[in-house]
Amino acid sequence: MLTPEGDFDARSRAALATPALGRAVRGTVDRLRNLRAIAEADADLTRQRRAAATEARTRAIDKLPELLERFTRNCEARGGVVHRAPDAASATAIATSLLRKSGARRVVKGKSMVTEEIELNAALEGAGIEVTETDLGEWIIQLAGEKPSHIILPAIHKTRHDIRALFEKEGGTPLDASTTTLCAHARRRLRERFLAADAGISGANFAVAETGSIALFTNEGNGRLVTSLPRLHLVFLGMERLVENFADLAAMAEVLPRAATGQDLTSYFSIITGPRHRGELDGPEALHVIILDNGRSRLLEDVAFRPVLRCIRCAACLNVCPVYAEIGGHAYGGTYPGPIGAVLTPVLRPEEHAARELADASSLCAACSEACPVGIPLDELLILQRARNATLRPKRALRLALRIALSGLMGDKAHGTSRRLRFVAKVLGAGTPQRRALAKVLPMLARSEAVRALPVIPPQSFRELWKALQAGENTRAR
């Protein structure tokens, strides 16, 4: 659902007028972008990994109805129950009814964009069920009464002082603003909720058709707690998030953590197949999977936009987008911000004018398409969406697009070609060990990251590569 206040123009103006927001968002996306650059530094390997992941996702989308049917059969053979929800209202109704039937009053939730999309929390609270978000970022957002502004870092726009104030209000005790104190507070408070919860709700990164399994990639461990401690587990699965088999799942595990956080693998990667077996002490007694359509079938029929269904929600496109860095996630007004949101939201909600104008939120620099680990041509789809809009609404788009594009491009001064600048950037690029060591002795360095992190510089410059190529050497870009 798009927020009603103002249109995209008004929301992005408001975001640009809040410099603290830009600083918080930009510093973090720069760091994430650099971590990904390090994790994907081996160009050949990255190309192979992306090709395998793209192939697996394309094949899954091409035979989606068959895979959904196989997943359902195999999941139910292992004791799970599968529900199909055509829209948000039916998905929340299924969840409410399952929770009521089991007498569940207290629910702990793992991070899930699909549940944001259907506004599950409001529906459950309306039914008198207490819901606690347990991903640290999601909990912060829930306490603030806001929506996530980034797909994997929902509280990216919050400073530690904002977070301290929210935690002090929730816990009723004074806290300092150190990360250690704030995390320890969250661990203590949320541990109580985990132990008392009747039901756990999670999303799913992937579902495996061949085995009926659900795969979750997480770092904090709250995903494991949600799926291990309560007696009932509800999984919300976007209809398109299928892979055929374990080999395809392994291919996804090679790209998702690298693209999302620059990790080779997340701290936890769980594969859940059915409820607990007889004699097991923990794990849910009942497992329900609610598969959400909510416009995805229509997207499947839209041949040009179909590649969007390959999306694995890694958020790499957000982290490289000059427009996202300036305006943050809330200005997009929907569940999915950034380039993927600008493409996905209008096709999921074609009837909403406010969704269509998100296609203007781009400089068309194509950094998003380059960052995408499953090869979605985001910039081309943005142009296509604009073309579709133009038949409905001729003017305005150009003016807004230019303004935002310029504000994004202005900041990119760090790319120098001189050797010296490259050396400095190499040593000081965010995420490098040298930088971490230096930041300890030079506090000003740490402070400078609040403004902008230096990008990671490839070992060879373009000019050097070009010379080498012309000299006929078999030099590889790495």
Binding site: R78, G137, E220, S228, D264, T266, Y268, T273, L281
Partner: protein, 186 residues
């Protein structure tokens, strides 16, 4: 069966990746040495209650002392007991060298909570069970007889949700220690 130089190379890759992910690594020749190291770690961490998986090679490793009680995780009726434990000791089905990942499976004798609720997780990994990649580890499971949960653990619990300042142990263990049996003692 791998030749020793290849097994040693896999161990080294595993150890490097584990340490990169924030985990701790000890290579021990045999079970007796593993028991000594485990008890030392628990002593140093001032752990007063330890959950231990009910599997061969793990159940007898930890010694109860005056300061420390030990219980088998398969006997726990109340999940609060895991939450109060200072450490959980488990085995591992496999280790993945490429990422320093432990592979565990939920079962009657190996509940999910042992490696999850206590702040310190100690895993005993047989060096022979280290494989190169995730795909190789997957190949060890039969698609028709999967456990209810396969758990891949790569270092401690972490979050970057507060100003992207990386912190350990927000929900899961703050420390993950792997003791690898190298078989050098036999």
């Amino acid at each position: 069966m791998l030749a020793e130089p290849e097994a040693a190379a896999l161990r080294t890759r595993f150890a490097d990746a584990l340490v990169r992910a924030g985990g701790e690594w000890f290579a021990v020749p045999d079970a007796a040495a593993a028991a000594r190291v485990v008890n030392d770690i628990l002593h140093a961490a001032c752990v007063s209650s330890v959950a231990v998986d009910d599997t061969p090679g793990v159940r007898t490793l930890v010694t109860a002392t005056e300061q420390r009680s030990v219980f088998l995780s398969s006997t726990v009726q109340n999940k609060h007991r895991f939450a109060e434990a200072g450490a959980g000791v488990t085995g591992a089905l496999a280790g993945i060298a490429a990422t320093g990942t432990l592979v565990l499976a939920a079962s009657r004798s190996t509940p999910r909570s042992t490696s999850l609720l206590p702040p310190l997780h100690i895993a005993i990994l047989d060096g022979k069970d280290i494989v190169g990649t995730l795909a190789e580890s997957f190949a060890r499971f039969a698609a028709h007889a999967l456990p209810s949960q396969i758990i891949h653990i790569t270092g401690p619990s972490r979050t970057g949700d507060i100003e992207h300042d990386l912190t350990r142990g927000v929900h899961g263990p703050q420390r993950v220690v792997v003791l690898c049996l190298t078989g050098a003692g036999s």
